[in-house]
């Protein structure tokens, strides 16, 4: 990134040393040099402005400002002065003065492409959309390049977006913008991808979804190449707005076959399928179902689709994707919501979640994934679930302290996941004080045992067993909240500080400590940078 206030290379040899001084932060010398130069050439406007910049940077705002105004009132048209004044005004946070500058310049030199551009930019800095629109067109009339025309169109869209009265946007700004683009389309003058994107944006805002869809699917849509799946994403959005469920379903199906881990397409696939069912839509017999291809409209098809995807993952040698398994749980959830008995065809949620844990339990994401579907288990099954999960975690032999420990980090992560799931299910909260204290002892033991796996961790890495420590802290907080025993809070702080000593980059420890210190009224600043 260029540094702020970087001045461009001057054409004038005499000014160069002053620019250099300013770039190097040597404001005193810059002012001195400028004064020297002004003694010999008292009308060298740019030197005055550079001196003003030096003054502004040394805190002499008022002097800088009046000096600058001396030059500004003369309405300069030389590049150096204009650019220098722009820099000065921006550093003074007076962008509106730049607009005045270039308005004057453009009046004097109406054919300057550069000054018109700068004027447009000056208006953009202060958000004067209407003036931007006019400046853009003036620029286009001077030099007929596409970008300038579309700057004007964009300014209209900005007026629509910022309009207080939405009717104005819908009846004036957007239709005008649309007509402007249509003119270019008719004349075959559309060039850049950004122009097509702008057109799509305008049609979408006007609610002209059919036109937008046709545009994207037509030859203009071929320009949408930068973003991956740009056309498909835009089509999907329009299908959903227009409630064209057959197309939505077929497109989701196609995209899922290519990418079975894309969550948003499972959602659109299910949404559209159930909408079609509710409308009792069925595909025509002999023709193709719709422009996007085959459509699925029955629960049986959805079930088969999900089951097939899972089987594909099961067969793979390489890393399996979580998508299909999560989709299965999602489908059960939706069928259950609709009171559909077919959910049984997909299997028992408990068994499915155990399978999921078997495949993905050694990844930290397992808990965030399963959390979403725990509601599929009735409360009576919670303890059973936790116990069955425990069976899938091969801990070592029970030692003197009564605990068995994991042999490697993968087993550790699985055990951690089970602990987290049991907390989410509320099983930790139902324990009495004694039970919670026993739990703390167990978790602490696991925490300390797990530190050995992280001996070679850099200080920018987290320890594998950090989450045990965090959980201990939270159980202490539970106890403190329930019993009011402050000792619990102090223990908690101690545990977190210990955790931080082994894992100095753990932001969760720091955030929790900050929260607790604030509760205690100890607003002491944390000097370690997160």
């Amino acid at each position: 990134m260029a540094a702020r206030g970087h001045v461009q290379d001057p054409n004038d040899r005499r000014l160069r040393p002053i620019y250099d001084y300013l770039d190097n932060g040597n404001n005193k010398m810059a002012i001195q040099q400028a004064d020297k130069l002004l003694k010999k050439h008292k009308d060298l406007h740019c030197a005055k402005v550079l001196k003003a910049i030096g003054l502004q940077r040394t805190g002499k705002q008022d002097e800088a400002f009046s000096l600058a105004q001396e030059v500004a009132t003369l309405e300069p048209t030389d590049d150096n002065s204009l650019q220098a004044l722009t820099i000065l005004y921006r550093e003074m946070h007076r962008p509106e003065l730049v607009t005045k500058l270039y308005e004057a310049a453009v009046k004097k030199v109406p054919l300057s492409e550069e000054y018109h551009s700068h004027l447009f930019m000056a208006y953009a800095r202060v958000g004067e959309y209407k003036k931007m629109q006019q400046a853009g067109m003036a620029l286009y009339k001077t030099v007929p390049k596409n970008p300038y025309y579309f700057w004007s169109v964009m300014s209209l869209v900005m007026q629509a977006i910022s309009a207080q009265d939405d009717k104005l946007a819908q009846t004036m700004f957007l239709p005008l913008a649309e007509r402007m683009v249509e003119k270019m389309v008719k004349e075959g003058k559309i060039e850049a991808e950004a122009e097509v994107q702008l057109y799509f944006m305008i049609l979408e805002r006007l609610g002209k979804y059919v036109e937008a869809l046709d545009m994207v699917r037509g030859p203009l849509g071929e320009k949408l190449t930068s973003e991956l799946q740009s056309r498909e994403n835009k089509c999907m959005m329009m299908y959903q707005r227009l409630q064209l469920w057959p197309e939505c379903n077929a497109l989701s199906y196609k995209l899922l076959l290519k990418n079975p881990d894309e969550w948003q397409f499972y959602l659109s696939y299910f949404d559209s399928l159930f909408h079609l069912m509710d409308k009792s839509w069925s595909p025509p017999n002999e023709e193709e179902h719709c422009v996007e291809g085959p459509v699925q409209t029955t629960v049986a098809e959805a079930v088969k689709f999900v089951v097939d995807r899972m089987e594909e993952e099961d067969k793979k040698d390489s890393r399996p994707l979580r998508g299909p398994y999560m989709a299965c749980l999602e489908l059960i959830h939706r069928l259950r919501q609709r009171g559909c008995p077919d959910e049984e065809e997909l299997g028992d949620p408990l068994e499915l979640m155990l399978q999921f844990f078997g495949k993905f339990g050694d990844k930290p994401s397992c808990i965030t994934d399963l959390k979403i579907y725990l509601h599929l288990l009735p409360p009576e099954q919670h303890t059973q679930f936790k116990n069955r999960l425990g069976d899938l975690v091969p801990l070592g032999e029970v030692g003197e302290d009564g605990f068995g420990f994991p042999g490697d980090t993968k087993v550790l992560q699985r055990h951690l996941c089970v602990c987290q799931l049991s907390r989410v299910l509320g099983l930790q909260h139902t324990l009495d004080t004694e039970g919670k204290l026993c739990l703390i002892t167990e978790l602490k033991a696991h925490y300390h045992y797990g530190l050995q796996f992280g001996k070679s961790c850099l200080k920018t890495e987290l320890q594998f067993s950090d989450t045990y420590c965090l959980m201990v802290a939270h159980v202490y907080i539970d106890l403190w909240t329930e019993t009011g025993d402050e000792n619990m809070l102090w223990q908690c702080l101690g545990v977190l500080e210990e955790g931080l000593s082994y894992s100095p980059s753990n932001a969760q420890f720091k955030l929790l400590l900050l929260l607790l210190f604030c509760r205690l009224g100890a607003f002491h600043t944390y000097s370690t940078t997160p």
């Binding site: 881990d261 998508g323 987290l462």
Partner: protein, 178 residues
């Protein structure tokens, strides 16, 4: 299970779980907005089913076509600790490479701290090699010494002879980079 979509301004309010990682740089807002304005196709975020952000990638394309230096560049790539080991970084890199291929880039490159062994190994596994070392590329914020960076590259199909990745024997300084 991920939704891969374009990063939006609002996501800047939700990415703390990713950016609180000590090796992930958090830039000023103008920096992110510049990338969203110029190269939105390269700014992709992965979202989990529960709505949490899992990771993101930021990139750009630059360099002279005539000098066969037109290339894709990875500006930032980060995955939240709770979503690691799912192959997400590899997936995001794959997307950036695909976009760079479509733009006709000759190669993809990136800068990484020489001490960030985890990242260096990951990129090597994805087919990147060290092209050169850049001395004191990363300025330290708190009195610690500046750190060197590896400039790692992967050739794309347009570079048929894979010339772009032939390593330079001597290290360079940040001022010498184009």
């Amino acid at each position: 299970m991920t939704t891969l979509r374009a990063f939006t301004c609002d996501d800047l309010f939700k990415f703390n779980n990713i950016n609180l990682d000590p090796l992930t740089e958090t830039y000023g807002i103008p920096f992110y907005l510049q990338y969203l304005a110029h190269w939105p196709e390269y700014f992709i975020v992965a979202e989990a089913p529960g709505g949490e952000l899992m990771g993101y990638i930021m990139g750009k394309a630059e360099g002279s076509v005539a000098r066969e230096e037109w290339h894709g560049h990875v500006t930032a790539l980060s995955v939240a600790p709770e979503f690691r080991r799912l192959g997400l970084a590899a997936k995001l890199m794959e997307m950036l490479e695909e976009i760079s291929e479509r733009k006709g880039g000759f190669f993809v490159d990136l800068f990484v701290r020489v001490s960030n062994q985890v990242a260096v190994n990951m990129y090597k596994q994805l087919g990147y090699s060290v092209y050169r070392t850049v001395i004191e590329y990363y300025s330290a914020s708190n009195g610690e010494p500046d750190e060197d960076a590896y400039d790692m590259r992967k050739a794309l199909s347009r570079d048929t002879e894979r010339k772009s990745i032939i390593p330079i024997p001597h290290p360079v300084r940040p001022e010498d980079i184009e």
